[in-house]
């Protein structure tokens, strides 16, 4: 079941678009904002509200890498692996992050604190290598900095 708040937020979007389907990506973002991810149940509930089949909506959901169809940890760490960061030392940063967290890309720490994902160019190339933790961008990374940054997220 969608909460009243989720429903209200989704319906507020409907006035901006001529079709209900157009709101579906924003609707999934809203649910994900509240719950951390988009479950099969949420796909069904959003689909009902927007008059889309679950299959159609899941087809959209799985196209977009920022829609999470699996549960994620309290903090999502996204390490840029595109070309400028690669030149500036992405592989060392990746080793540092995976070593410190004890997980690989696509995994979540057992204490549910962090999920680690690769991300395409974050548009911070003058500060490469860079990573995004939740909503915060961290640039000019070096191996020594990474641990301190991650420790700020409890």
């Amino acid at each position: 079941m969608l909460t009243d708040e989720e429903r209200r937020e989704i319906e507020a979007e409907l006035v901006r678009y001529p079709t209900r389907q157009a709101v579906c990506i924003e609707a999934m973002r809203i649910v994900q904002h509240h719950r951390g991810w988009v479950s099969d149940e949420s796909i069904r509930d959003i689909g009902e509200l927007l008059e889309m089949s679950s299959a159609d909506l899941d087809g959209v959901a799985t196209f977009y890498n920022l829609i999470f169809r699996k549960p994620v940890g309290r903090h999502v760490v996204m390490v840029c692996n595109s070309v400028s960061c690669w030149i500036m030392g992405y592989e060392r940063i990746r080793e540092q992050v995976t070593g410190h967290l004890g997980i690989e890309f696509g995994e979540t720490t057992p204490d549910n604190r962090f999920t680690l994902l690769p991300i395409v160019c974050l548009g911070a190339c003058q500060h490469a290598p860079a990573m995004l933790v939740d909503n915060e961008l961290h640039g000019d990374l070096d191996a020594a900095k990474v641990e301190g940054i991650l420790e700020e997220y409890k």
Partner: protein, 427 residues
């Protein structure tokens, strides 16, 4: 004479966004006032056409001409849409983020003027999900613009009305492709659409739609306020205006600079970026993001504009360049680029999803010492199918540019990987 920097000179150096008042004090919204007071939509289109402004998102299509294909007048289909493409995801590109975070109202004014020029009813800013700070600043600026009467009904007491919405995307490079973006806005997978029909005739929900890059749009208020002739004087060459150039990689001072269009590559890399870091030598550069051909030492005196970079065998693209040094493996760099394109392929066209994935595996194997004789010929052959006409959109053609040029300029490095059965850059 000091160089004029219309797009960035008002941006604050402390990282804070320019406020509405600050923007107005710097001449902001004067272009819009002038257009609504004394210019017809056709006149606005003509001024932009005469200015010679070309699209700053990478393709370089003349902006005024793009607008001119929109049906105008009584009986033209409604609503019409105008969209700012703020889905900056071309690897190595970080210019639109700076423009939006530093001066959000400048983009809003540009979008309103573009909307007025084609008599649009609704505007969207389509921004990538990772650009959180730009989203916050744009959302606040849009609310301010409504309160100040720049958006909504009867803009500045005129008959013109425009609603502006911020659409936050959920990822994928394909969303920056014009027709993929339209599908994304309609709540679909961002596969490309066949052209024709072009979006100006049949875009969002089948209605006339224009899509312009952020840097393109922020030029428009200045062109309208100061005129097409002024805009022509800003550049060093026949392609008009200024350009945000950037450099990343192992240069001394990676960064972003607004300079006259046509500034030579050497000046950007050596004066503005400070040259290579000590002990490193320049080997090559992707002049305008990941999907442009490598240029090398012999090209350093090329003026960075659309015409001259094309003559040199590459593209100006986004104008934000990625520098390759002599301690970085060109095969590894190419492998990283092709990995990106293969991952971001939407799966719509076979030469793209299948061919790119095959090339990704071949290059990764070469990096691991498993390259085989004949790989280079096969890579050349395969990438010929990534050209316009074999695919719906520019993703695969964009991937072919760095690969084919790397095979040309760094062929010995590829051969060494195959012959020596390991990457010579790895100890």
């Amino acid at each position: 004479m000091p160089t004029e920097r219309p797009l960035t000179q008002a941006i604050l150096s402390d990282g804070q966004p320019l406020s509405l008042q600050g923007y107005e004090r710097s001449g902001g919204y004067q272009g819009l006032r002038k257009a609504l007071r004394e210019m017809t939509p056709q006149k606005v289109q003509d001024e932009v056409k005469n200015s010679g402004l070309r699209g700053r998102g990478g393709a370089g299509f003349p902006t005024g001409m793009k607008w001119s294909f929109t049906p105008m007048g009584e009986g033209s289909p409604r609503p019409k849409y105008v969209v700012a493409n703020a889905d900056e995801m071309e690897p190595g590109t970080f210019k639109d983020r700076y423009l939006m975070e530093g001066n959000p109202h400048q983009l809003i004014e540009g979008l309103i003027l573009a909307g007025y020029a084609i008599q649009a009813d609704v505007a969207f800013i389509f921004i990538r999900g990772e650009y959180k700070l730009a989203q916050e600043r744009l959302a606040r600026a849009i609310a301010e613009a409504y309160t100040a009467g720049y958006l909504g009904k009867n803009i500045l007491k005129s008959d013109y009305a425009l609603e502006l919405y911020l659409h936050v995307s959920a990822g994928r490079y394909m969303c920056g492709e014009e027709t993929g973006l339209l599908n994304a806005l309609e709540g679909k997978r961002a596969n490309p659409r066949a052209k024709p029909p072009f979006p100006q005739v049949s875009g969002l929900w089948g209605k006339p739609t224009i899509v312009n890059n952020v840097e393109t749009l922020v030029n428009v208020p200045h062109i309208i306020e100061k005129g097409a002739a002024w805009f022509q004087t800003l550049s060093h060459t026949r392609d008009a205006g200024t350009k945000l150039y950037g450099a990343s990689g192992k240069v001394k001072r990676p960064g972003l600079w607004e300079l006259p269009m046509g500034t030579p590559l050497r000046e950007i890399l050596e004066e503005h970026a400070g040259g290579m870091r000590d002990g490193l030598r320049f080997r090559g550069v992707l002049p305008g993001g990941a999907s442009t051909d490598f240029l090398v030492e012999e090209h350093l005196d090329v003026p960075m504009d659309y015409t001259e970079v094309q003559k040199a065998g590459s593209r100006l693209g986004t104008g934000t360049m990625i520098v390759l040094d002599d301690r970085t493996c060109p095969v590894g760099m190419t492998s990283n680029l092709i990995h990106f394109f293969a991952q971001e392929s939407c799966g719509w066209c076979t030469p793209c999803w299948s061919g790119l994935n095959w090339a990704r595996q071949t290059l990764a194997a070469m990096e691991e010492g498993h390259g085989e004789s004949g790989d280079l010929e096969k890579l050349s052959f395969q990438s010929k199918f990534w050209s316009p006409g074999h695919t719906f959109c520019a993703l695969a053609p964009g991937a072919a540019e760095p690969l084919q040029s790397a095979l040309k300029f760094f062929r010995d490095d590829f051969k060494r990987h195959i012959d020596e059965k390991h990457c010579p850059w790895r100890s």
